[in-house]
C-alpha cells in the first residue's frame, strides 16, 4: 500500500491525486495527503506518474507498514519502478526492452 509522500521532494503538483485509480489521495492547500490508504490496491502506478520520485508504495497489499523514509532515499528505492520501465530521462532506452517474445516463445 502507499505509505509515504516525501515532503522534501513533493512539489504539490497533485498528479498523484489525479492518476490514482482508486482515489486514495486528497488535495490540500499544501502537499497532497494519503486520505484513504485502505482503498490502495498496491498497483504502484502513482509511483510511475510522480515526476519527483516522492512516493513509495510498500509491496504489502493488506497490512500497513512502517517505512524508514531516510533509508528509502539512501537505497534509491524512491523512483526505482519508474527507472525500471524507462519513464525517466536517463532510462528512456528501457521503454522497448520487453523480452516477453523470448520468454514465452511466441
Amino acid at each position: 500500500m502507499i505509505e509515504v509522500i516525501d515532503a522534501q521532494r513533493c512539489t504539490s503538483c497533485d498528479i498523484c491525486v489525479n492518476v490514482c485509480p482508486t482515489n486514495v489521495f486528497d488535495k490540500t492547500d499544501g502537499f497532497p495527503v494519503i486520505a484513504r490508504q485502505d482503498d490502495c490496491q498496491t498497483c504502484f502506478l502513482c509511483e510511475l506518474y510522480c515526476p519527483e520520485d516522492a512516493l513509495f508504495v510498500s509491496p504489502f497489499a493488506d497490512i500497513p507498514q512502517n517505512v524508514d523514509l531516510e533509508a528509502l532515499r539512501q537505497n534509491a528505492l524512491l523512483g526505482s519502478y519508474r527507472r525500471a520501465v524507462g519513464w525517466t530521462e536517463e532510462t528512456k532506452h528501457h521503454r522497448d526492452i520487453d523480452r516477453s517474445y523470448l520468454l514465452f516463445g511466441h
Binding site: 485509480p21 504502484f44 526505482s80 520501465v85 526492452i97 520487453d98 523480452r99 516477453s100 511466441h106
Partner: protein, 542 residues
C-alpha cells in the same frame, strides 16, 4: 450542410450536477473502453467516456504487462493459433469470431505502432507485437482518446443506466468523486466496458473491477453467458498484489517442511496448489529459471520484482510464501451476452466490450487471461464502438424523449434498514474466495452458498438507499453479490467439468453439454441453455 460537432455538448444542469448530451456514452476507461470511444468518435459520434478511476491507470491492463493474441496473417499460423486452445476451452469457441478477432487485433496493434507504441525489435530487426506494457499502452490510449475528441470524465463511477420509453439504453448517471457532485449523460447508445468482477481480491489492478456494469446492464434487462467460467485464481507472493502466474512456470512449489507439493505447477497444476493451501502455507522459488531467463523476466515485467526487491527476497534462490487470488470474470470468460457482430446485448442501444462481455466466443471455458483478453479488448472495443455509433446515427431525433432511471438496490428509498457496503462485500467474498466453494465446485456446496447469497439479496433489496458517501461502495458490493449469484446458478446448471469449471460431483466433460449457459435476473436468478453453433448444425444434419 452543417458541420457535425465532434465533442459532446455540456448542457445546463441543476446545481450539484453536470449534464452532457452525446451520441455514444462509454462506461469504463480501460483498453476496451478506450478503443470503443476512439472507434465511435472515428465514425463521427460525439462521445463521452465515464471512468470510475482514471482512464490510463484504471483496470487490470494498466497495472500489468500483457501478452496479445497477435498473429501474422499467414493461414497456417492463424489456423494453429485458433486450434491451440480449443480443447482447453472445452470446444466452446467460435471459429468465425476467432478469425475476426485475430484480424482486428492485428490491425489495431499495427495502429499502436503507428501511434508510437515502443514495441521491441528482435535480433532480426523484426518488431515484436505480441506483448504490451500496461502503463505505456494505457498512457498512449488516454492520449489517443483525448485526441479523438472524446470527453473523458475521470473519477466518475456510473451508478445506473437511463432508458427511453421503449426500454432502449439512453445514457447513465453517476458521481464525480473528486468534485462531490453528480453527472448525467444523455446518449443514443451506451457501451458497457467496465471490466469483469474480481471481488476486491487485490489481484493486480483489479480492485476497480467489481462487476458494476453487469448490475447496471441487468437492471436494464441484459443477459449473461458463460458465467460458470468465473473461477480462475492467480498466483502471487502471499503478502503482495502482483499476480503474474506465467512467471511461476519456472517455480518449484513446496510445503512448510520443504517437501515438494506433488503435481503443483502454474499451468495444469494450480489445483494442487489450491488443495495444499487449504492445509497450510505453500512456498515457491523460481529455481527453474536459468541462463538468460532471470534477466529477461526482469526487463519484461519490472513490477513482478517490486515485492521481492522491496523485501530483500531473491525469488530465484529464496523460498517465499505464495497465495492464490481470485480473478473471477476478469480472467474467467463469462460476461454480458453478445447477440451480433457489433457486440450488441439483448437491450436495444446497449453494447458490451472487453471483460464486461463474455469471451466464450474466442476462449470457450478456458481463461481469457493475457493474450486473448487483450485481443478481445481491442477487437470488441472496436466492434462495440462502431456498432454504437452506427446505432446512434440511425436512432433518429431524440428531442422530447422521456428517460427514466433503472437503478434498484442502494438507490431506492426503503426506510427499512441501513445499507452496509463493507459488510456486504465481505459476506460475498466469504462465498466466492474459498477454494472448496469456487475452485472445486459441488452441488451441495454451491446450493448452500446460493441460499446465503439469495438471502443477502433479499436483505439489500429491502435496505434503504445508501448515504451519499456510501452509495458508490454500496453499488459495488451489490454488483459483487449479483455477480456471485449468476456465477453459482450457472455453475449448478453445468453438470459436468469443462474448461475452468470443475465439479467434484461431475468430474468429466459430457459431450451432450457442449452448449452455452445463459443467465440473468435480479430478484429471481434464472439460467437457460443455448446450443453451440456447430453442435446445432450437427444436430440438424442428423
Amino acid at each position: 450542410m452543417t458541420v457535425r460537432p465532434t465533442r459532446a455538448d455540456r448542457v445546463s444542469a441543476p446545481a450539484g450536477s453536470v449534464e452532457f448530451d452525446a451520441d455514444v456514452l462509454v462506461i469504463g476507461g480501460g483498453p476496451a473502453g478506450a478503443w470503443a470511444a476512439i472507434s465511435a468518435a472515428e465514425q463521427g459520434a460525439r462521445v463521452v467516456l465515464a471512468e470510475k478511476g482514471f482512464c490510463g491507470t484504471s483496470g487490470a491492463t494498466a497495472a500489468a504487462g500483457t501478452g496479445v493474441w497477435y498473429v501474422d496473417p499467414e493461414p497456417a499460423l492463424r489456423e494453429a493459433a485458433m486450434a491451440n486452445r480449443e480443447k482447453l476451452g472445452g470446444h466452446l469457441q467460435d471459429r468465425r469470431w476467432m478469425a475476426s478477432v485475430l484480424d482486428r487485433t492485428y490491425e489495431q496493434s499495427n495502429r499502436l505502432a503507428d501511434w508510437g507504441y515502443p514495441y521491441p525489435v528482435d535480433d532480426n530487426g523484426k518488431s515484436q507485437r505480441n506483448s504490451l506494457q500496461g502503463p505505456e499502452y494505457m498512457r498512449l490510449m488516454r492520449k489517443r482518446t483525448k485526441q479523438a475528441g472524446v470527453t473523458i470524465l475521470d473519477h466518475s463511477p456510473a451508478l445506473e443506466l437511463l432508458v427511453d420509453e421503449k426500454g432502449a439504453a439512453a445514457g447513465a448517471s453517476g458521481l464525480r468523486r473528486q468534485k462531490h457532485d453528480r453527472w448525467t449523460v444523455r446518449a443514443k447508445a451506451v457501451v458497457i466496458a467496465t471490466g469483469g468482477c474480481a471481488f476486491l481480491s487485490k489481484t493486480l489492478g483489479s480492485n476497480v473491477l467489481t462487476g458494476d456494469g453487469y448490475l447496471m446492464a441487468a437492471e436494464a434487462g441484459a443477459e449473461f453467458s458463460s458465467m460458470e467460467f468465473s473461477n480462475p485464481y492467480a498466483i502471487s507472493a502471499a503478502f503482495g498484489s502482483v499476480t503474474k502466474t506465467l512467471f511461476y512456470g519456472w517455480a518449484t512449489f513446496t510445503y512448510e517442511d520443504g517437501g515438494v507439493v506433488p503435481g503443483a505447477a502454474s499451468k495444469g497444476g494450480r489445483s494442487a496448489i489450491a488443495r495444499a493451501l487449504t492445509q497450510g502455507p505453500v512456498y515457491a522459488r523460481l529455481d527453474k529459471a536459468d541462463g538468460d531467463v532471470p534477466r529477461q523476466m526482469r526487463v519484461s515485467q519490472p513490477n513482478f520484482f517490486l515485492p521481492f526487491d522491496r523485501t530483500g527476497i531473491d525469488p530465484f534462490t529464496d523460498r517465499f510464501p505464495v497465495t492464490l487470488r481470485l480473478e473471477g470474470t476478469v480472467r474467467g470468460t463469462g460476461g454480458l451476452r453478445i447477440v451480433d457482430d457489433s457486440c450488441a446485448t439483448t437491450v436495444p442501444g446497449l453494447y458490451a466490450a472487453g471483460d464486461a462481455a463474455t469471451r466464450e466466443l474466442i476462449c470457450g471455458g478456458f481463461t481469457g487471461g493475457g493474450s486473448h483478453n487483450a485481443a478481445w479488448a481491442m477487437s470488441s472495443g472496436t466492434f462495440a464502438g462502431q456498432g454504437a455509433a452506427d446505432y446512434a446515427r440511425h436512432a433518429g431525433p431524440t428531442r422530447g424523449r422521456r428517460l427514466s432511471s433503472t437503478g434498484t438496490v442502494a438507490l431506492r428509498q426503503r426506510a427499512e434498514r441501513p445499507f452496509k457496503p463493507a459488510e456486504l462485500a465481505k459476506a460475498v467474498q466469504d462465498e466466492v474466495f474459498p477454494y472448496e466453494l469456487n475452485y472445486f465446485r459441488e452441488a451441495g456446496r454451491l446450493g448452500g452458498s446460493l441460499e446465503r447469497l439469495d438471502a443477502l439479496w433479499v436483505e439489500v433489496s429491502q435496505a434503504d438507499a445508501a448515504a451519499a458517501d456510501d452509495v458508490f461502495r454500496a453499488r459495488e458490493s451489490a454488483s459483487m453479490l449479483a455477480t456471485a449469484r449468476w456465477m453459482y446458478r450457472s455453475g449448478l446448471a453445468r453438470q459436468e467439468s469443462r474448461g475452468m469449471h470443475r465439479r467434484d460431483d461431475f468430474p468429466d466433460q459430457d459431450d451432450r453439454q457442449r452448449h452455452y449457459i445463459t443467465s440473468g435476473g435480479l430478484d429471481e436468478v434464472w439460467t437457460s441453455v443455448r446450443p453451440h453453433a456447430e453442435a446445432a448444425y450437427a444436430e440438424a444434419a442428423e
